[in-house]
């Protein structure tokens, strides 16, 4: 759990840049720029479609004028044929004198007929061309409309998604920061608890030593009752040595008597001095 707490803390730190700005925010900003560029290009394409459609409509208008001209040409051919027919009738009335004139009338009639055929042929081609252009214009307009709607829809959707992402990112960063604070507190508390347990163990050991000492003292006093030849000073020394052999902490030795301590008072196990390490 302690390492988990440390990992959470370092993970939170990784999500933050050294200057405090957030990596996720930068990514969102880059996404927004890229998306805006794409949508702008899409809108530019739409504008090009509109220009192309306008040009095609202009061509269609001009083709309609060509139709009108062809119509006039056809009327002119028809008039020429009528003129040729009348000339031929007049030539017949003149007999041999009008034979040359009749040939000319036939030629005019033939050319007028040919002109009418060509006009009709051009009209058919222009009609096909007009239909093709109208179909292309209609499809292009439909495509432009679809693209424009899609671009507008995409822009709104992407903006909403980025807003949501930014909101989620901001919440996540707050959560991470809070988790980091909690983890750091937790890690400190766990460490303190571990140290506290060791103090508890020290106290338990000391209590155990006190009990052992009391038992040893009791045994010594009992044995001295029957040994009257031993002086009081010798008895005290024997008891003291017996007790000292059971001590493991310098604080215990000092409690018994300053002369038994192995470390100076100032050096002995102040809280900040605990945990001394020595590698051999």
């Amino acid at each position: 759990m302690a390492s988990l707490a440390q990992s959470s803390a370092s993970m939170g730190a990784r999500l933050m840049d050294a200057d405090g700005s957030h990596n996720v925010n930068q990514v969102i900003q880059e996404c927004r720029i890229t998306m805006t560029q794409l949508l702008d290009r899409l809108e530019q394409s739409g504008q090009l479609y509109a220009k192309a459609i306008a040009q095609m409509e202009l061509v269609d208008t001009r083709v309609q004028r060509v139709f009108e001209t062809l119509k006039q040409l056809d009327q002119s051919s028809f008039a020429s044929r009528l003129v040729a027919l009348n000339a031929k009738i007049e030539a017949v009335h003149l007999g041999n004198l009008g034979s040359g004139f009749e040939v000319v009338a036939d030629q005019i009639s033939s050319q007028a007929h040919r002109s009418a055929e060509l006009t009709a042929s051009v009209a058919v081609i222009l009609t096909d061309l007009t239909k093709t252009m109208q179909t292309a214009t209609s499809e292009l307009r439909q495509l432009a409309d679809t693209d424009r709607e899609a671009a507008a829809h995409s822009r709104a959707g992407a903006e909403a998604a980025l807003e949501n992402l930014q909101f989620a990112s901001s919440q996540m960063q707050e959560t991470v920061a809070e988790t980091r604070r909690v983890s750091e507190t937790l890690y400190t508390e766990i460490s303190n608890a571990v140290v506290a347990m060791q103090f508890q163990d020290r106290v338990s050991q000391r209590i155990g030593h006190v009990i052992d000492s009391l038992e040893a003292m009791n045994q010594a006093l009992t044995s001295f009752e029957s040994a009257e030849d031993i002086s009081l000073a010798e008895r005290k020394q024997q008891i003291t040595q017996s007790l000292a052999s059971s001590y493991t902490m310098d604080s215990e030795r000092r409690a018994h008597g300053p002369e038994m301590a192995t470390v100076a008072v100032a050096e002995e196990l102040a809280p900040e001095d605990t945990g001394d390490v020595e590698l051999f």
């Binding site: 302690a2 988990l4 571990v194 140290v195 347990m197 060791q198 493991t248 196990l269 390490v277 590698l279």
Partner: protein
């Protein structure tokens, strides 16, 4: 493959605390409540990467345990740390002579212990 540590201490709470700290650092942990149990654990273990032992324990003390453990192939070259409340220089020398790798005075912060372990068991 996880590293294996043997903890030898007569205090259940200390064993629990050390076990928690070492498992958190990625170790597999086996335990013994005194030197004798520690020796049995050494004999039964396939490999040991670290041994942490208390000094004053019933049945068999830490110094004797280290001396005996150094005779066994599994723990001949394994780092052995002594964790103790004892501050006497003679005891420290005795531990060193028995084959201890290092000496840490209780109480200590877990992070400090892990720093030492990282040096001994890279």
């Amino acid at each position: 493959m996880p590293k294996t540590a043997l903890l030898v201490d007569d205090s259940f709470s200390i064993r629990q605390m050390l076990s928690f700290t070492l498992k958190d650092a990625g170790f597999d942990v086996i335990e013994g409540a005194n030197g004798q149990e520690g020796l049995t654990a050494v004999q039964q273990a396939a490999k040991l990467d670290l041994i942490i032992t208390d000094l004053n324990m019933p049945v068999m003390d830490g110094i004797t345990f280290i001396r005996e453990a150094r005779k066994l192939p599994t723990s001949k070259y394994t780092p052995i740390l002594m964790l103790t409340t004892e501050t006497q220089a003679e005891k420290k020398q005795e531990g060193k002579a028995a084959g201890a790798t290092g000496w840490i005075v209780k109480p200590f912060h877990p992070a400090k212990l892990l720093d030492v372990i990282a040096k001994l068991v890279p």
